[in-house]
Symmetry: C2
Subunit: 191 residues, 2 copies
């Protein structure tokens, strides 16, 4: 199953079998049950997570007690609270499994040693963060630019399979809707 | 003036004088007049910009013809349209000087060669993107979580000097306000 990470790394850097075995030794595999929390608000985020199978999400709980989803991670995606992970400060977020998931996790000290010992991984993570940052910038543009209805259609046309895969109340939360409003939009789309 | 970049790189990686001279040879310096555009919507974003002096901003023009600012860059900050820069696709953004500015610029091919020849710079850019991504994630959280008034106070308490420095209509645009609403908030804060 760790082949998934190997193939992902090899999209960006050349890595021999021996090098990958060494890289992999910094990670541990974990199975996460649906709705299990990997991180809870107030904790220090100890790990960076790579999804081998399943789906995780990051959310915070707002003043009204409502869960606001800010990010999803499916196969081949990384997820963590970067501020808490890098600075070892208390997190404002939760990270939770949306589906039963299998993940690779690496703690901060291990990630630092990995990068020191395997500089090729600097290049890999540089690409990962560069693309994640670019995606976050587009998300910010959409949050300003698109109406609620437009943002649903944009997300649907970009990630049709993902829209089918995740529970609709979570999609609504990610897009900043109520589940009722999303349900109306879906009816409209079908008709 | 290029010392500013040297010192910034040295916050993250060790770099000798000789290495820095080699790194610097990939960049060119440019002076930008106030309100001059470095990038216009529809162009391919050719360069990544590092601010030595002054202030740049990134914005797009929405359906109503209004400029929506999504990002600022002052001294020691990088700015580009990462999607357009990486994939050489047409940009949806403008990058413009808010103040008369002095910048270092590097085009995409040069940046790739720089990273190939100076792997230490992979580590530098990995940090740059990791932190930029973390900041973008917090911005997304604030866009969902804070009222307009709260977001003004949060920004003011985090960047008081910057709030004093930039034109208020641009700050309003960045926070998603009208200039009139920002003016009201400022009066309230003073009273």
């Amino acid at each position: 199953m760790s082949e998934i990470l190997k193939n992902h790394i090899r999209k960006f850097v050349n890595l021999s079998e021996e090098e990958f075995a060494a890289v992999l030794s910094f990670f541990r595999t974990a199975e996460v049950a649906k709705k299990e929390n990997l991180l809870t608000e107030g904790q220090i985020c100890g790990s960076n997570y790579f999804v081998l199978k399943g789906c995780l999400r990051k959310f915070f709980i707002n003043d009204k007690g409502i869960e606001q989803t800010t990010e999803f991670a499916i196969e081949n995606w990384w997820i963590t609270d970067h501020i808490s992970f890098e600075h070892q400060t208390k997190s404002e977020f939760y990270i939770q499994a949306v589906e039963p998931s299998i993940i690779l996790m690496i703690d901060r000290d291990s990630q630092e040693r990995l990068l020191e010992l395997h500089p090729k991984m600097e290049r890999y993570f540089r690409f990962i963060y560069q693309r994640a940052y670019a995606a976050a910038q587009m998300r910010i543009k959409y949050l300003f630019d698109l109406s609620k209805e437009e943002s649903y259609h944009a997300f649907y046309s970009k990630y049709p399979e993902f829209v089918q895969r995740i529970p609709q109340y979570l999609l609504a939360s990610f897009l900043g809707f109520t589940p009722e409003y999303l349900s109306e939009l879906r009816k409209k789309k079908r008709s």
